[in-house]
């Protein structure tokens, strides 16, 4: 119990630290492996995409399983296996298991707070007696660059809560994270199915 009090005191000192002229808050270290769910909102299309996600920063890979919603009765749903170390993305249609193998052009970009990030804010989400404390960070450079990324992470254990990206003025996505669990219960989800041995080379579209 006394350990708790000391911990709370350290936290409260670090939170008010910038007012006292001491060192500003440092980015926390986000967990390297977790499972959870996400909703990604694309502000261009107005679409919400829900998915189950297995995240493995240790091996630079992510598996995304799209979840059906009531919105789009005739849409196709896909599983995505991103293997950044091999530079390969597998896209698997959920019903037919038809598979496409695509070269990954983007670099690995983990769900974490880069060391050179700008501290924006710290606050509680929720209501009295039922809340979590989070910090908000961005890639803003004061008087030089507006933010193109904003990340909200829990103060305790540094789990992602929300990330917003602005690629250009018209492409913005917000990803919210939830039902997060530490670790990976089934590493087998990163193995593509046998249909990927004779895979298409072009991405499949999700429309009917």
């Amino acid at each position: 119990m006394s350990g708790f009090v000391v911990f709370a005191l350290v936290l409260s000192l670090s939170a008010t630290g910038s007012c006292l002229g001491s060192a500003p808050p440092q980015p926390c270290l986000a967990p390297l492996q977790w499972e959870g769910r996400t909703v990604q909102y694309d502000h261009g299309t107005g679409r919400n995409t829900r998915a189950s996600v297995t995240y493995d920063a240790q091996n630079q890979r992510i598996r995304v399983l799209e979840q059906k919603t009531g919105h789009t009765p005739c849409k196709k749903f896909f599983e995505y296996i991103y293997l950044f170390k091999s530079g390969v993305l597998f896209q698997i249609e959920e019903i037919t298991k038809q598979c496409a193998k695509i070269a990954l052009t983007e670099a690995w970009d983990p769900y974490d707070i880069p060391l050179n990030s700008t501290y924006e804010d710290q606050y509680f989400i929720g209501g009295p007696g039922d809340m979590i404390e989070v910090q908000e960070w961005s890639d803003r450079k004061p008087a030089r660059k507006n933010e193109a990324w904003v990340g909200v992470y829990t103060l305790k254990d540094c789990y992602p809560v929300q990330e917003t990206y602005t690629k250009n003025s018209s492409v913005t996505t917000s990803t919210r994270f939830f039902d997060l669990q530490l670790g990976i219960s089934d590493p087998g989800v990163f193995n593509p199915p046998s249909t990927c041995q004779s895979a298409l080379s072009e991405k499949m579209t999700s429309d009917c």
Copy 2:
């Protein structure tokens, strides 16, 4: 302690209720008076606007005090007093106290979940051992209308966490809520300052 167990059981039954064919979840009743902070993200401009908010649904009024950030050194900041019952908005410049009195054209739209809303999802935000449970609702009508509003509210006590509005394809705003406290500590914030007795009739702009 036994009270807790019963409460958890009721919650878990209501969460799985829709799978068992019983009544779907009903919208909770959001608190009528609170104080807190918000960040409103405008996806058109890419700007985040931070504010202190006093919310009074009982009397259909909201007071918004914009907060300075490091982004915009020469921007003006305003206080807004929305009085929906009188159909009036006061806009007060924070330094000069210059005041504009403007007719309110929008209808009162409380921060709550309308009774005819569509239940979308329920989940935990945060990490293991440090999380809040929330429900997500929208104004989507299955097979008839995409959502133009999505609201995320805490399951316990029904505090707002996030609201996203799409007015048309190009105007989308997301408002996140935090540091919420029940009740209004100073109802005086809804009284406009004396400079509003001889007020401008046009809205002031925030640029330099």
